[in-house]
Symmetry: C2
Subunit: 427 residues, 2 copies
């Protein structure tokens, strides 16, 4: 890992510059997939499954038999773990539900905002070597707590035409029934446009590869909402002499194993710690199975030595990490100065993997500096708010002149007329 000592603000910025996201080349290809799904519906999904997933499907939808048969295939240990995670995620996300805000802004003018579930949502769960059943928990639980009426799940089939058992188990546990065997850009297109089998949804959630994220971007530009823009996963650790180098090394490695483009960064005020962490990374990675991926991602990882915690905080706020671990003595003080981050982990016993799975927080977070303007996923990502207002005749009278004068200054006659005509008719 590259070591950078006492960088200026500018040097730190340069050192932590992310690899530019570049999807221009695949945009036309993704657009063609979307157009094909639009034109051919289910037929396109069957043929893409053959082409991309190497499987001839007999049905897109997971059958009741498939769902019912899965429970006995999961170990009691994994069931129990999923249950613990579910409880904590449920608890934290239930607390996020918003109360109605209602008040009288002036005499006779009552205004309120009400949170209402988005009726139809689509959840994308990536396939690949490791089935991300934790992501299904993280997306489906808040959708259910929010009260979404229709929850659609798309996930790519395995070569044998099945969906991973543990994903099906989580779906069954949560009572989810609309699970479709389709992945990639075609799955996003299906949920955005609807096909014979797959209902059209209003908002699409979930991570994915470049094809999936590009498809989300394209359907977003035609008005389908999406959870957030995507980029490679990343962690930044701020550590002082109170940190345990082995803990920090393990946290950096947890990030590094996600993918070859992941970024793991340490900023520390303690030069000894920096070297110990570097050694511990080298030492600990020997035991890990994803060493190839780790090898690649550590190439863009950095260890920064700074003069004090304020410098570390500034660099972190400029970088806006997806995950931020504060392995420092006064973690609460440092946390109160964090203004840009996805999720923050305080102290030596709060590793990222706790939040990835089971502490209760969501693991769907803004990457790539998007935390400067975007929030991580919450129950409110599955709702929208509607504003209401009710004026009494007296209430309208109180602002009648205000509205008329303002409408007049904006040359909007009819807006003025809508007030005048009511003034003439006293309620």
């Amino acid at each position: 890992m590259e070591i950078i000592k006492y960088p200026t603000e500018k040097e730190a910025k340069k050192a932590l510059k992310r690899i530019a996201l570049e999807n221009k080349k695949i945009i036309p290809k993704v657009q063609r997939i979307i157009d094909t799904v639009k034109a051919e519906g289910d037929k396109a999904l069957f043929s893409f499954a053959e082409k991309f997933d190497g499987v001839l499907l007999s049905s897109l939808k997971v059958s009741e038999e498939e769902l019912n048969g899965v429970e006995k295939k999961i170990s009691p240990e994994l069931k129990s773990a999923i249950n613990t995670a579910r409880k904590n995620i449920f608890k934290f996300h239930s607390a996020q539900k918003r109360k109605e805000i209602k008040l009288e802004t002036s005499d006779g003018i009552t205004c309120w905002r009400k949170s209402i579930p988005i009726e139809k949502v689509g959840l994308y769960i990536p396939g690949g070597s490791a089935p991300l059943f934790s992501t299904l928990l993280m997306l489906a639980l808040p959708a259910q707590i929010a009260g979404c009426n229709e929850i659609i799940i798309c996930t790519p089939p395995q070569k044998d035409g099945n969906i991973s058992n543990v994903i099906l188990y989580v779906a069954k546990l949560l009572g989810l029934k609309n699970i479709f065997k389709t992945g990639g850009a075609q799955a996003i297109a299906a949920m955005a446009l609807g096909t014979e089998s797959i209902p059209k949804v209003y908002k699409i959630f979930g991570p994915g590869n470049q094809w999936v994220t590009t498809a989300k971007q394209i359907v977003n530009s035609i008005g389908v909402a999406v959870d957030m823009p995507a980029g490679p996963s990343e962690v930044l650790v701020i550590a002082d002499s109170s940190a345990n180098p082995n803990f920090v090394a393990a946290d950096l490695l947890s990030q590094a194993e996600h993918g070859p483009d992941s970024q793991a960064i340490l900023i520390t005020t303690d030069e000894n710690l920096l070297h110990s962490v570097n050694e511990a990374v080298t030492d600990l990675r020997k035991k890990l199975s994803r060493n190839n991926i780790i090898e690649q991602s550590l190439r863009q990882s950095k260890l920064l030595l700074v003069n004090n915690l304020n410098e570390a905080i500034n660099i972190s706020n400029n970088y806006a990490p997806e995950h931020l671990i504060l392995s420092v003595n006064n973690a609460d003080d440092v946390a109160s100065n964090i203004i840009n981050a996805g999720s923050v982990f305080l102290g030596n016993y709060s590793p990222e993997s706790a939040g990835d799975y089971a502490s209760g927080t969501n693991h769907t977070l803004p990457t790539n500096g998007f935390a400067k303007a975007y929030s991580g996923l919450s129950t409110n990502s599955f709702t929208k708010e509607i504003t209401f207002q009710k004026l009494s005749a007296k209430g309208l009278q109180n602002i009648a002149n205000t509205v008329k004068v303002m409408a007049n200054a904006e040359n909007l006659d009819a807006h003025k007329l809508a007030i005048e005509i009511r003034e003439k008719t006293d309620g």
Copy 2:
């Protein structure tokens, strides 16, 4: 206005189908403007002002003298109106500030979410015939209440090189100082990318023409957040026999005068009312100055007669109107069944123009059916939320096995290691 009697659900859907938004032709042109601003900075903005606004500017930034000189140019009547509107908007948007949510999900595991202002935001205020100073109030007040550190305003210069007095007055009143004379796609590009004069922001707000909305869409795809997707303005009125036909007609006309692509719709259970409204529209529009615009927009407006209020509610929820006026006896009951709308106005004395200017609610709302997934603007549009978690050694121990089992099932070794290594070292 076209009259449709007792439509089936399908017929109603077809009748209310919106004109498809089509901006493909201008995308390359907008992209060129963005590329030019990226390459040339301020120089590009000066040259676009000459080309598009017909003015040779000496400076992009509004000077302190310009701001200071404006107060005496505004009538006391308009000042007082702006002040009333400001108070109500301030009151409603202050109540929207979110409290921190903090709880223990399990013994020793504390999780919380904190709302934090987006540091740098850009507000776009369109120019044109009527200066939309009300939009400046609607965007800047919530930004200030949220606590945004840097508020940048871009608005196109008039032919004389000035900004409208009333826009400057509102800026001065609110203490806003970073106002730049640039409009169109180039203004969006400047705020998204930054130039010598104009700071780069993290989120861009505000309405605009096709060029502006296309530019927002493009910069959004490279990671700059935007308020919401845009489309033509619209109102839907649900009315029964208790409605006053003149009030309803004036409300439809208020919408129709916004622009030639605006849509105004009435759904009523009362055939007499339908005809009276139709006559009142013909009658009242004679008095209005924007008759040309109204002429065009009324062409896509409809009057629907339905069997009962439930049908009206269903059609409205399918349409998801930006503005929804409930001119019915039991407006509260009907309101409780509304699930898709931007802003809802209850009863005979709650015209849209009240909410457009002065009741306190925001007038930046989702159009084009986007209300199915998007909310109108609120104070929270100017904040993002960060998640925090703090586990004690005991807290981690409580979920250690859960995390290890789940990480194992997802083939993420290092995630498991980050727990194991902490278990070995008891805190």
